[in-house]
């Protein structure tokens, strides 16, 4: 026979003002199996907890029901209390009579009645509770950072600083990401390369950090503490350990007409190349799409000039398998494709550029050596029009993105300011819908562009750009002055919306991490757990979680690192024992549960069962990995044969609760 104790909390007046707590404890005392029913002002206080502990010992309770606030608030507190008194912590049930009762009802009689019903349901459930033991699983003391931009670099450096090994996987031949392409950074205008390249070098020199450049994550299995990851090291046709990065091959290669991706196609490079001078690792790579040796076996110039003998045309992709305790997604962003925006003539005129292209045109290491020249005729532009919000803040039905890309207002102010500073004879117009500058010293920066540098900020939008006779005819609205403007511009710069990198979606599938409709990774809690994915052991850093500027990215990267360090500093982790459990005899092997499981916790196994007349039957049955299962219960609902059950929330327990409520 069960011996259940019921404890009703007043929560000061939070519960007691709307619910007659004495009536509740009196009514619940009459329930079957209940041997004790008490109420107290604050159950979570030391005195309240002592009351529960003493009662468990004195009355030899076999189950405890606490009618109080949401289990999200104090379930852990009370589980510890129960455990201290020697009872299994999973023999505790909480009836939420605050958030789900006293706070939402006004009528005292009705609220009291509902509190009694909620208590009754919890009593019915606790009768069927079984003691559960939380398992332990070991933690591999190595982290994986996917993406080697500023977010990934900062996360890796911080993890390494704490003494843990960390690997960076970067799909480009060098780490550094988008920040390597930037010229100056707002709001202090320090040079991006000057602040980034030392960090890149730190990564390369730190013995705790391994860099897999020109590599991609191929497959992920396992769970928090022990992920198993396959990494594809793409063939670069240059031996990384031998190449000295002298760059002679990149000067001698006869294939000169390869669009330079680092400069966004604004100039050309050779088929063998080093992305830029400060690349880490500084190792050449052959572009197989353009190399004539790889395409038709003729040439071999690079192999001839290479003093180190690093060129290897026979190199193949290599698969590396590693174990990790934690994974950080830092896959970053890209500007959207602007070819859908014909009204701005992006595809029709080379002088209409995206902001990132403009960044390269201003950069000392860019295609023009830092002199601002029009791509079409290499002359100085005298009138430059900047258009904000291109593809951002659009309606969901349209072609753009619904969100604000967040960084464009500031980088456009920076571009406009730099133009006016370097070339005071230029006229710079910025067409804006709103100027959004919430950040430290951000609005001051924008005001400086207007007040000190004389940038013409116009509230309105460009409706049409048409290339005519070497000029760009810009037709726009000036909403504050109530007029339509016609500007003969030499250059038009479009602040393209940013979107998550295309590799993020397949990666999320591999990690079973959730994403929003825009393909940004979702965080475990939008306010309180912003750098964790809902999938245990997966953390988020930088723009893969949402648009961010550099200071914010670095802050989030360090936050993600601290979460990883917290995980890796444990030798083992306690698992949640409330996990799914299949009844192998009832399982028909249909895979329904495997398909709905958002965590990849379910696998199938061909298992031998004893059949009639001493025969053996081979049947396909579901297996749940308790370390991966998060206890969401999706499989229990999907299972057509009722074979899947959730420990601590079994079908019988839920039905008992429903019965108690309907009684």
């Amino acid at each position: 026979m069960q011996r259940i104790g019921v404890f009703v909390c007043w929560c000061g007046t939070n519960i007691a003002a709307t619910v007659d707590v004495q009536a509740v404890s009196d009514a619940l005392a009459k329930e079957p199996g209940v041997v004790l029913s008490a109420n107290y002002q604050y159950m979570c206080s030391q005195t309240g907890q002592d009351l529960i502990e003493t009662a468990i010992r004195e009355h030899a309770l076999t189950g405890v029901v606490i009618c109080s606030c949401s289990p999200r608030m104090h379930e852990q507190t009370f589980r510890k209390t129960v455990a201290r008194a020697g009872l299994n912590p999973y023999l505790l049930e909480i009836a939420n009579i605050r958030e789900q009762c006293s706070w939402i009802h006004k009528d005292r009689a009705q609220a009291t009645e509902k509190a009694i019903i909620l208590g009754r349901a919890a009593i019915a459930k606790v009768q069927l509770n079984t003691p559960l033991q939380a398992g332990q699983s070991p933690v591999t003391k190595r982290a994986l950072v996917i993406g080697g931009g500023i977010a990934g670099i900062q996360t890796a450096l911080d993890i390494a600083e704490a003494g843990f090994a960390v690997d960076i996987v970067e799909k480009q031949p060098t780490i550094g990401g988008k920040m390597t392409q930037l010229d100056k950074t707002f709001p202090t205008l320090d040079c991006a390369a000057c602040i980034l390249t030392p960090k890149m070098v730190d990564c390369a020199q730190n013995e705790k950090i391994r860099i897999f450049s020109y590599s991609e994550v191929e497959a992920v299995s396992g769970f928090v503490g022990s992920f198993r990851v396959t990494i594809r090291k793409k063939a670069r046709y240059v031996r990384e350990d031998v190449c000295t990065g002298c760059g002679l091959c990149t000067e001698k290669c006869p294939q000169k007409k390869v669009p330079n991706a680092f400069n966004l196609g604004l100039d050309t490079r050779r088929a063998i190349y080093i992305p830029f001078a400060q690349a880490v690792p500084k190792v050449a790579v052959i572009d197989a799409d353009y190399c004539s040796m790889l395409k038709n076996g003729k040439c071999g110039v690079c192999a001839k000039v290479c003093a180190a003998g690093a060129i290897d045309y026979t190199q193949k992709d290599e698969l590396v398998e590693c174990e990790y305790g934690a994974i950080v997604a830092a896959t970053g962003y890209n500007p959207i494709d602007l070819s859908g925006y014909d009204e701005f003539a992006y595809s029709r005129s080379p002088d209409v550029v995206s902001s990132l292209e403009f960044e390269r045109l201003m950069n000392a290491a860019g295609p023009t050596g830092g002199t601002l020249l029009r791509p079409s005729d290499k002359t100085h532009p005298k009138t430059i029009v900047f258009v904000q919000c291109v593809g951002s803040r659009c309606s969901a039905e349209g072609k753009g993105k619904t969100y604000c890309s967040k960084i464009c207002c500031m980088y456009t102010a920076k571009h406009a300011m730099l133009c006016r500073e370097k070339y005071p004879d230029t006229d710079v117009y910025v067409f804006y819908i709103d100027v959004r500058t919430p950040g430290k010293n951000f609005d001051e920066f924008y005001r400086r562009a207007v007040e000190e540098y004389g940038v013409h900020y116009i509230k309105g939008m460009v409706g049409k750009v048409s290339p005519e006779g070497g000029k760009l005819k810009v037709q726009a609205s000036d909403l504050l002055d109530g007029r339509q403007l016609h500007i003969d511009a030499d250059m038009v710069v479009l602040a393209a919306a940013i979107e998550p990198d295309k590799s993020a979606r397949p990666l999320a599938t591999m990690l079973t991490a959730s994403m929003d409709t825009n393909d940004f990774f979702t965080e475990a809690h939008p306010k309180l757990r912003p750098v964790e994915s809902p999938t245990a052991g997966v953390f988020l850093s930088g723009c893969c979680q949402g648009p961010k500027d550099i200071p914010e990215t670095v802050a989030q990267a360090s936050a993600a690192a601290s979460k990883v360090i917290g995980l890796l500093s444990k030798d083992s982790i306690v698992c949640n024992p409330c996990v799914a459990q299949p009844d192998e005899l009832m399982c028909n092997g249909c895979s329904s549960c495997e398909k709905v499981c958002p965590y990849g916790a379910i696998t199938y196994l061909d298992k031998e069962f004893r059949g009639p007349n001493r025969t053996t039957l081979l049947r396909r049955v579901a297996q749940v990995n308790p370390a991966v299962c998060q206890g969401c219960g999706a499989c229990t609902v999907a299972c057509p044969s009722g074979a899947m059950d959730l420990k601590g929330f079994s079908n019988r327990q839920i039905m008992a609760e429903v019965d108690a409520i309907c009684r």
Binding site: E343, C389, R393, C394, S395, E397, G398, G400, F431, I433, K459, G460, M461, V462, G463, K464, Q475, A476, S477, D478, L479, G482, Q484
Partner: protein
């Protein structure tokens, strides 16, 4: 402020003027800007704030070319040209009511006009 008319116009147009974020791309795109009394973004704002009577009185609604540049460019799918067309439709539907009062009819009657035509016209336009 006439909320009923705003709703009527929005219903006829099939777009939601509240989705407008005041970017002005429609007005930036409009090729008939100089000819228009009210410009596309103003149309949206006037419909939204219920100033439909002013729009109905304006000759401006007929200078819109219906080139649909604003429909094409609007990033929020507010599509001003649809609202303008809806106001025109509203104006047309009001024509009978505005122009012909029953007491004015006898003076205008043509003796050769069949009686049935007059009766049917009255029935059609409900005086």
């Amino acid at each position: 402020m006439n909320r009923d008319l705003t709703q009527t116009v929005a219903r006829i147009a099939g777009v939601n003027p509240r989705a407008c974020m005041r970017c002005g791309k429609c007005t930036g795109a409009c090729p008939a800007y100089d000819e228009m009394e009210y410009h596309p973004h103003q149309f949206v704002s006037m419909v939204e704030t219920g100033r439909i009577d002013e729009l109905l009185r304006s000759k401006g609604i007929y200078t819109c070319l219906s080139c649909f540049a604003c429909i094409e460019r609007c990033p929020r799918q507010v599509e001003p040209a649809r609202l303008i067309e809806a106001v025109r439709v509203l104006a047309e539907r009001k024509q009978g009511a505005d122009h012909l009062r029953p007491q004015d009819i006898p003076a205008r009657l043509d003796p050769d006009m069949p009686q049935q035509a007059i009766t049917s016209a009255l029935r059609k336009y409900r005086r």
